[in-house]
Symmetry: D2
Subunit: 435 residues, 4 copies
């Protein structure tokens, strides 16, 4: 009984809180576009911060139901504009078609904390989207606005080293998503003289990193991850730096999902390193191939590979047969083996060939490897596939220990990017012979 | 002959430059929303910078003709959305109704110089609008985007004093629009310990002030401008500060016309001064009344004054009659007279009464005094009308030497603003007795 | 054989290096006082940096033998000055009596790294002083110069929090001398909102802390150390802050031994906290009593205690007898006991009384407790003795677990300092009753 | 009567103020070296600031009479040290010979404002020295301490451009001592892209410049001053910069007289410009010759010129005769003539020859030209004498319009400096032929 009563009270309180917010939001929207409402916006931002899950649900309802475009008005506006295109009919069309919640968020963004509030709303929205697909319109608006607010022209790229605030360094430890940082000593090694770390920051969000990339300065293109993240290794001298290898890139703010900052970050870092260290000759990555094992174990039909000739498909089938034979029929066994000796030369070659096909042929399609698609769309070149490069459990499971280098040649990235959009993957001669 | 040939050549070159720009702009727009195009955007921004007037004309044509919404697509989208509201139909509606030039400008804004380029475009657009009203849609888009990019949450307010960079101080001298700054000595006086100057800055635009306000710290509400801008005056001690008087507010960036920053600036300054100098008891302005003389000399029909009772209209007519009599029939003579003795008590009272009516009754309408409308809409109160307050040629011509104090009571501005929108002007008791 | 040869070679090389340094030092000294020698100074600083121990030994020889005042010249100058005091005889006296190495060090200090070189020299000199007392003159000169270069007017006090560079925070972990910092988590707790850490920095030495103090903000004066350094404790809210307790102060630069910065640091911190947190009512320490156990176990003759009346001496003897009885004759046993129950009320009172006498009576003499002498000479008041306040092995061994609060009343420190110099220890009423 | 009474009162008040200061100074000196006294020092600094001239006089008396070394103590210490050199006898000698006022000033320098107070004292002392030569000892101590506090290792060199604080720029206008700055427009031109200005700052004194140098970046070594300071001239492009010409160097703080910062400033600037603009090939000055006319008009005996051979002396006499003849017997007439046509080739050559002798032969002696002595002692080379280079009244009066280039070859300055100390002036081949 009591419980029922309590829940009813809670529901009422929630309803009241959301109703009050709604009223305030409407008041804010009723202000003339260019004036007023700062105090009101500040209050709304503060109250949004205190909403619990159920209240947020109610708030999203409001955004969806009440602040979407009015179909009738939009239709009338489109008809008027179709009849006669004047600045007036255009203005009405634009106004009628834009969800009012966009303007609401823009007005909230006028006050300190507004940007952070939009990020919070989006983080809260993600888990709801699956069950409530009708809220996708809100997500689209949030993404649209955040893309504009976090455009690279407003961001600051800063180097992060051992002189950075501990508070900021702690965030790197938390958010490193590729090769976990094992405490402060590990982090310190990754920030020494032959390593670099760069991050993007937003003026409104202080020392909060949005995305960061880790770079190793090396005498040659790396073929394994372990030496790069060995915290006991000795830093190399600058005169040995020939290659800058991006070995990890991680997002810190999940509210920015879909706002692509990684591309800009990598290129801006490459430009800055080039200026700072003219001795650097190549910029490349050492990247995981997260989808390779799953793809191969799913027994794909090579004849369906986009762009694969019949001959290629047959070769790939043959390679798979060789490999399966070496694994006593169970390709999955490869996920548990860190040493590939039993595969023999032929088996190892078959593995590389299959991986080459996976990366070079599948990447232009949505089924392609996500990491490959990211770098290739950035305009990087598929440079080298490295066997036994990541012998961690995760590395073996994802890709049988294989890793790949993508090469960033800044003079060619625009061109390669255009080619990739047309379905073509640029690769090195070495990768070419694999295919 | 030669001239014709030259002009033809020039026209061709212009056409080529604009065509090339158009191609690049289309390429930039064809990029996937979240990726690529930085290098391209940089080039477009650089080339925009070099366009001459005629070329810009061509570019605006392109923005208008090619990057407005497609009427057919917009109509189809509106119909689909009217039929069924799903995230998909909504997304298509939003996409179809938004002018593509908005997205173009957003993408240019991703690179350094993009914000400045948008401002430049808008400044170049202004003089064309009169003859080519169809370009108003471009202006609307620019205003929409600039409002978002220059929202107060992104701006920094900084105090400007004699320690500020000379480069920045020079801009104040150039842009002071209310009471001209007469060289560096005058400026120095306006930055001393009993004066304040604050400006808004945008992170992308460096030390370039957007708008600034000048404040005098005084023992009482000022009733004349001359002592405030007397460069030979001696600074007062802080223990005498009781009133902060905003005596000048000027925009520095004409490309931001319509992006209202003055309201935010005044209130943020007031809050900061309150914190810094708790001894301050009042925040007010000493403001010009630029439209008063023109209005009065146009012989308005007082019966048409909004909200005026019949009795008030009669009193105003009587006051005008008194005044005219004192001027030997020529009200315009008041614009040449700095001493009001010949008006007598009655004449002076009549002048104040007419001015009170002008400000209190006309301001809620679009015909109202622009300065009055600005402050009253900000939520200020009409506090006191001061005779013989600005005896400069400009002051006499605009308002027969009268100036007005508006009072900013931060606790009441929201409320007063709402009232003003309903047509009601809050005023002091003293102003009330004038009416 | 080979070894002998090698050593001879080494000795020669050492001798050569030192000889070359000597020549350069003489050249630098021969420059006119106000001119030249910057390049030379830079070289000397660089070479000093590379000297090994034996070479440094030789360099100190040179400083001692060749750059001390010439006795004959000093005597002649003193005689001339005694006969007639003129600016000229005075100038010669000053010049003749000042060791030339002072001028050498001053000239080295003109170039980057000069200050650091002087600190390094002094650190290298310390271990030699015992066996080579004649080098004490060099130490005196170094101390004289460093005192001048590190005077508080040149130092910057900065708050150190979790936003400080990791490089700097690492130095705190290394140098904390009172209550060791157990890794980054422990450090983070000590920098949270109810803790403060402040350090002095020198403009020439960048982010290198010279000395730092740790402060806890508390609702009342603390009586035990464990809660203050409990890394799992929850930060308190600012409205609970009534007392600022200095619980640790540590030097980071041993080359500054004898340059007293702690006094200035504590007082500057107290002033800053007072400004920042007006709710703070008291500034005190929670301090160890490092000499108490050793003193008591050495069976002092209480009649010899300075300022002790005969009656006091008898009471102290009686107290010791009680205590000894409770420990079965072995006072040393107290160093192993963290719980004092078996002492009974009488035994615990006896222990406090003996400690009170140790602190209040012995402190003005050079045999006094060093920590007590530091705070009392700073002008602090002996406020409260806390039993069972530090139950760590070190705390029990040094002082049977007792700790003491010294109170900093900024209005009275000057006065108390003067009194302390006259042999008088200011204490609270509570401590008075102990005596 | 009244006046006498008033004066007596004033004298008493002065005496009281000085007596109180004396007591405080003694108290401060009685503090143990490393402790206490900060509050006291702060008070003394504040009170020093308020002393009027007569009171300062009394204070200097005190510094001289009471805080000079005690002759008897100094003699005893020197005798003890002469007998046996131990760290103890040395320490006593050093202590006994150092004026106690040095320690007083060092302790005052511990608090904010202490450095500024020492500078003020010295500025106040200068005008007294002529009539009270016994105060020279105080000046020596102040100079000694200020040299140490303003050593280049503590100073910051900063570029000053049009972005510098107006407050700082105003100081340049005030203190430019060589070629007066004619208002803000003139200053702006001197800070544009083909000009540079650098100044030294002291961390304790904020944005107060101590000394600044103005540099012009030019395609060739300049032969006249007018084009360099022409405010209407157009800035040159960086690709034309071949020569950096120092055309003005001015001190801003007279309290630093005798603390030579100019040498360090010129060389540090040259190094920085070399790094920043590798296209620069030469660093030179365009300098006045302030003593030339006075020297020549005083009819010097050329046979007495140091290092002049008999033949040279005869040539110089002949040159003077030629010149005098061209001036109708009155060499002084040259000071009024800006065009040298009437001198004829022979007369112009004679003038250059005499100037060459003045600079090359007289400079190593104290009678030499002060500007020449400064640059030559810095290690610059006498490069070229330029006729009709400064046609201002001052330029004609000082040196008949002649100016000189000194060349700074950073690789040779040390060597040239040593040579100059030995009496030898390095000069170009061109100057050699003049001699």
């Amino acid at each position: 009984m009591l419980d029922d009563y309590r829940q009813a009270t809670l529901r009422q309180r929630t309803a009241r809180a959301v109703r009050r917010l709604q009223l305030d939001c409407r008041r804010l929207l009723s202000e003339k576009a260019d004036l007023g409402g700062l105090a009101l916006a500040r209050q709304i931002v503060a109250r949004l911060d205190e909403l619990d899950d159920e209240q947020l649900d109610g708030f999203f309802d409001f955004l969806h139901r009440d602040l979407s475009p009015d179909p009738a008005r939009a239709l009338a506006a489109a008809q008027a504009y179709a009849e006669l295109q004047t600045p007036q009919t255009l203005a009405e069309l634009v106004a009628a078609a834009e969800p009012a919640r966009q303007e609401l968020l823009r007005r909230l963004n006028r006050v300190p904390g507004g940007t952070a509030a939009a990020l919070r709303l989006r983080r809260a929205l993600f888990p709801l989207l699956k069950d409530r697909p009708e809220l996708a319109g809100i997500d689209a608006d949030l993404l649209h606005l955040l893309s504009s607010w976090f455009n690279p022209g407003f961001l600051q790229m800063r180097r992060v080293d051992w002189n950075a605030p501990a508070q900021l360094l702690e965030r790197l430890i938390q958010h490193e998503a590729v090769h976990a940082i094992d405490g402060w000593d590990d982090l310190r090694r990754r920030l020494q003289a032959d390593r670099r770390c760069f991050a993007f920051f937003h003026p409104q969000l202080g020392d909060e990193p949005l995305i960061f990339v880790e770079v190793a300065l090396l005498p040659e293109m790396p073929d394994a991850i372990a030496p790069l993240i060995d915290k006991a290794s000795t830093p190399r001298q600058p005169d040995r730096f020939k290659v800058a290898a991006f070995y990890s890139i991680s997002n810190c703010e999940s509210g920015l999902r879909g706002v692509s900052l990684g591309n800009f970050l990598i290129k801006t870092v490459a430009q800055q390193l080039q200026r700072e260290l003219p001795q650097l000759k190549r910029f490349c990555t050492l990247s995981p191939i997260p989808g390779f094992a799953r793809w191969l174990l799913a027994e794909p039909d090579f004849a369906q590979l986009p762009g694969a000739t019949r001959a290629q498909a047959q070769q790939l089938s043959a390679a798979r047969a060789v490999l399966r034979e070496r694994c006593a029929g169970d390709l999955g066994a490869l996920q548990g083996i860190s040493r590939h000796e039993h595969l023999g030369d032929e088996g190892r070659a078959a593995l590389l060939q299959l991986c080459g096909a996976y990366l070079a042929l599948l990447s232009p399609t949505p089924q392609g490897d996500p990491v490959a698609r990211f770098h290739l769309d950035n305009g990087a070149r598929l440079e080298r596939i490295n066997p036994r490069a990541d012998l961690s459990t995760k590395g073996l499971r994802q890709s049988f220990g294989l890793m790949v280098n993508y090469l960033y040649d800044l003079d060619k990235v625009e061109d390669s990017h255009v080619k990739f959009r047309q379905g073509q993957v640029r690769h090195s001669h070495a990768v070419g012979t694999l295919l």
